[in-house]
Symmetry: C2
Subunit: 248 residues, 2 copies
């Protein structure tokens, strides 16, 4: 399999997709998803880990809200990874991540994830390249553990925005009162490290491929919502789940 180059992949929805038609299709998919999630919860056999990664302002929060927000929260949980606590840094980098793995019947969404340990940490040179590559091996082993021994379907999405679209959105955060709470001076400094982040993402996507990544064109919110909802729906459908029969 050839290595992907992010610069070669469009950040825009393919031309053939119409915004309003796609939104209508997504609404139908979300209704199906609601039923499929209930079935998965009832069957209590599989689980789903949905990993959402992307640069600041790539739309992680929004897509999580719009795709999983209509599902029964009893069966869907979201974990947002922040800077690790002292207790967490006292352990291997996957210790805090493994704790958050989904149990049977559950959909767990990671808003950011263990991938930050080979992204922000690498870009800022808190770890050297040798450590980064060792961590990539460990991530493959870890995802294999969840998939093989946890019966977990892992879906990994990279929200692919252009640097221009990102900068535009960061500026909007300084202007729109409903978005100001998301503004963080640090984000603009991080944005200047764009090329370094793209290289780190490419390495993560190309090397951590025991479970393959989906690179989602993310300049339009309606398109990324469609892609993620569709992938989740198709994954659940492929499990051929059944409601347990009445135990007499």
């Amino acid at each position: 399999m050839g290595k992907i180059k992010l610069a070669d992949i469009s950040t825009s929805a393919p031309k053939k997709f119409d915004k309003e038609k796609t939104k209508a299709v997504t609404r139908e998919i979300l209704e199906e998803l609601d039923e499929l999630q209930n079935l998965m919860y009832a069957e209590h056999k599989h689980s789903v880990l949905l990993i959402v990664q992307g640069m600041d302002a790539s739309g992680k929060d929004g897509v999580i809200k719009n795709v999983t927000g209509t599902l029964n929260p009893q069966g869907v949980t979201v974990y947002s990874f922040k800077a690790p606590s002292p207790e967490e840094t006292d352990h291997d980098f996957l210790w805090r991540v493994h704790k958050q793995a989904p149990g049977k019947g559950m959909i767990q969404v990671f808003n950011r994830s263990h991938y930050e340990d080979i992204l922000i940490q690498r870009v800022h040179k808190w770890i050297d390249d040798k450590t980064a590559y060792k961590r990539m091996d460990a991530i493959n082993d870890f995802e294999k553990l969840l998939a093989v021994h946890g019966n977990t379907q892992i879906l990994k999405f990279y929200l692919h925005v252009s640097h221009e679209a990102q900068q535009q959105r960061l500026i909007e955060r300084t202007e729109d009162p409903r978005k100001m709470w998301k503004y963080n001076e640090q984000d603009l400094a991080e944005s200047k490290l764009w090329d370094k982040y793209m290289n780190a993402y490419e390495d993560a996507i190309n090397n951590c491929n025991y479970i393959p990544w989906m690179v989602v064109p993310a300049d339009q919110n309606w398109y990324k919502e469609y892609v993620i909802a569709l992938t989740l729906r198709d994954t659940l459908k492929s499990l051929k789940m059944k409601y347990p029969r009445l135990r007499k």
Copy 2:
């Protein structure tokens, strides 16, 4: 490396070891250990995971008490693995184990461990051989994660008793009032599965060797205490730890 056959390894202390002299040496080692553990806690860089496996009545509880019982409990914790809870069985078999991994500066003792997932579960055919071998791969990956990314020294001891010594000890539990609390009817049933357990242990020891095992002749308590104390002491000494300097 040749595969080990447990039947070829003596369960008795080597002839050259004298009981009283060895006990005196162990006492000296334990004093050194006390100082080394304090140093490890202060340096806050390494951790130790000491795994104790063995058949019922092989002396796990006793050796844990006598080797780690004199150390500062602030830096030494013991986790005894029992049958998993429903929440635990909803996850991959290493989920509950990873949670108990030691943080920097700590010695964590496992009284039984993730190895039960390829021992009792295999002997009773709760899992098939194919699953058992996949779990062995996952165990190697997991121990590698702790060693490489958690900076954890992993020490794995199999307490090797003879079937005769085990049966003798199980009978004592029915006769000695101070030991009756340990008596469990189930243990005698398990004892009849001896050969199947030995085969499962041999597979675990031969295949889960990213971190090698130590097979400890365990018919005499004083000898296994000596071996485990010595190994722990030598491991800590090899780390060339230093007390942090005063931060001014």
